[in-house]
Symmetry: none
Subunit: 418 residues, 2 copies
């Protein structure tokens, strides 16, 4: 085989022929293309690629690839696919497909169930160009953080704090490398490993991604250009990803299509700031369709940059989060069953306790109740060691949750149904 062909092959992965086929398929159909994805899934990339070149594929596949195949010499298409792999290699990127060990199976598989429900730009990627750390495992322990390009100082600050804390807790921060919120998220996540750079330079490239940047253009391009340095740095501790062939320009529709991958790579999507008609909302919509946790950060009602977040929250489309703790709680509780035993950052399979989710002081007052019988506020003060005001506040909350009950001057626990 030509040395060009496996130039961009990851170690111990699919062979040259399959990789050229993947590059060719990515080149001749504009993502997303559910019909081609299904065909490749059924036939494998090599047979599918041959069928596309020979125009012997199902009508939907032929139709989806017509614009870039019809009237073109098949040999030229193969040569172009090989050239794409070379171009990728030139920027340190590899092309991965479903047969590779680092393929993010869980992230991509979520499209299968969702296609019919109409995720904008539905359909899984056929393959992914990747620079940096492997994607395997996504969306496990990964959170998408997105928002407006024209972010406010407030939004930039909050995005940075959330991303930094997520990264510090060992979670990958997924975003789109755009100006504003995205850049703040990537940069802040990378702050976590800065000390490691000095102390252990050899660790670069190892371990899981600190941050994942998904591009709407070719892996060999930097968009926005001002983020070139960031995009060249990310692969040392994170990953830069694109499903577009090298050289692809970031046309407007590609951002919407790309957003479904940003949503798919995180267990949840946090919208930090978004204007009324922000493209960010399409990421939130995709996340919802993919069954991910959708979250939004509130802001001043006087800020146009928070209008989109407030719309998501007002419709109860998104869960309100005020920081990384909230994000981990929301994502952790949603994915607890999926994740199994983590390293403790995620409360996993513990059975529900009545005080789960309560403020510590509120839980303390609950715990001060006798197992059976009633208790006065004064005795709760003594038992809990909290001031009367705190006890009264906690009782109000507990009552709201249906956990306690007032009978004249006395209070008692309401037993849970089970």
């Amino acid at each position: 085989m030509s040395p060009l062909a496996d130039a961009a092959a990851p170690d111990g992965a699919a062979g040259d022929e399959a990789r050229v086929a993947l590059a060719g398929l990515l080149r001749v159909c504009e993502p997303p293309c559910a019909a081609v994805a299904r065909f490749v899934g059924a036939q494998g990339p090599v047979a599918a690629w041959q069928a596309v070149l020979a125009r012997r594929a199902p009508r939907a596949v032929v139709s989806a690839t017509a614009a870039r195949v019809d009237g073109v010499d098949p040999a030229a298409l193969v040569a172009r696919a090989r050239a794409d792999l070379v171009a990728a290699r030139r920027v340190g990127a590899r092309l991965i497909g479903p047969d590779d060990a680092e393929w993010p199976v869980a992230a991509v598989s979520s499209f299968t169930g969702a296609v019919g429900r109409g995720v904008r730009g539905s359909g899984p990627p056929l393959g992914l160009y990747v620079r940096g750390r492997p994607l395997a495992g996504l969306p496990d322990r990964a959170v998408t953080v997105v928002g407006s390009r024209a972010s406010s100082p407030y939004g930039t600050r909050v995005a940075g704090e959330v991303a930094y804390e997520l990264a510090r807790a060992g979670w990958s921060v997924v975003s789109g490398a755009a100006f504003g919120i995205d850049t703040a998220a990537h940069r802040s996540a990378l702050q976590v490993i800065r000390p490691v750079v000095a102390g252990a330079p050899g660790s670069a490239g190892a371990g899981r991604s600190v941050t994942v940047a998904v591009l709407a253009c070719g892996i060999d391009r930097a968009y926005p250009e001002a983020n070139r340095e960031l995009l060249d740095f990310i692969p040392r501790f994170g990953s830069v990803v694109s499903e577009y062939p090298p050289g692809t320009v970031p046309a407007r529709h590609r951002f919407l299509v790309r957003n479904r991958l940003i949503a798919a790579f995180g267990a949840g999507t946090v919208v930090v700031e978004a204007g009324r008609r922000s493209g960010t909302l399409s990421t939130a919509a995709a996340a919802e369709q993919l069954g991910r946790v959708v979250m939004a950060v509130p802001g001043p009602v006087t800020s146009a940059m928070s209008v989109g977040c407030h719309l998501l929250l007002a419709d109860r489309f998104a869960q309100l989060v005020t920081g990384a703790d909230d994000v981990l709680a929301a994502v952790g509780s949603a994915s607890g069953a999926v994740m199994g035993a983590g390293d403790g950052a995620v409360p996993g399979e513990d059975p529900r306790h009545p005080t789960d989710g309560l403020e510590p002081e509120t839980a303390r007052v609950y715990d001060a109740f006798p197992a059976r019988g009633s208790i006065s506020v004064q005795d709760l003060v003594v038992e809990s060691g909290l001031p009367v005001s705190a006890v009264l506040g906690a009782l109000a909350v507990l009552q709201l949750h249906g956990l306690v009950d007032q009978q004249g001057p006395l209070w008692r626990r309401i037993r849970p149904d089970r």
Copy 2:
């Protein structure tokens, strides 16, 4: 009967004996007292008061009044009740009870269904001391706006804008006269009538309340003291209310008890800013238990003053609102069903009034019409106390709404369908 006794009686309302009984009952039991309320509801205030004095009441009633009745000469208790009425009269307050036309039947009746569910400080008020405009009609077209005493400039601004717009739309703004958000809400609602003050000082006291301040102390006290001027001004265009006997000091627990009335007097409760353990949250809890719409204004996640709001929103306990439009949409859609025609959900309340939704000035011009027959613009100016330009503007609006009709130089009301 002593002239002292009906000193604080509203026009054409319950007689002297009943009013002294109400004052006495308010004096001898610390609100809220569901047992006494039930007893008074069943027996009427006069019989209930006699029974309390004679210690012939049900055990729960005797027990609830023991601290202030046992060992005290009944004649002294009656004298004290009469003295309370005099003290109220001295500050221009009247005592109203369930038999008075201005009793807020709908607001108070919501406690009956809620008692069993354990509203904090449950139980309706036995009577209310009122300064200023009548309370009849609450919670219809009224919204409660509450929040932290230690409000931020952001919260103060938003509370002011929301209250002003609500008042401009003809809604009453209910709050607690505390520093911070409450004060901003009352003051901003009053801005709506400022122009009228200059033009027609004699009109004070007429029409519905622009703003309602519910106190946790006696009606003759100003708390906080710095708001004395505000509390003395509110009765000109709004109402100041207390269920506590004159002279009562604002002890901490009374704020929590008072909060249930603040919640009950509005069709919905908007929390503008609240700290993590703010007493404001008890108002939100009471609103929820009373079946009111609970709303919260988001803010910067970096502000401690928005933490309480974000807790309410994160638990989906409150509906997110960003301004008066959101509030009216939330309250309007929720109350549409409740207030529906003739289903008895809100006893004693006319579900729709022709002037619902009109600007206060426009409504005032409408109210200046004779019930039948015609009236000239000049007479409308005299009747309404508004300048000619305002009357002409209002007439144009009323005509657009199909509420009035012009016949040459004269105008008359068009009778509503029913």
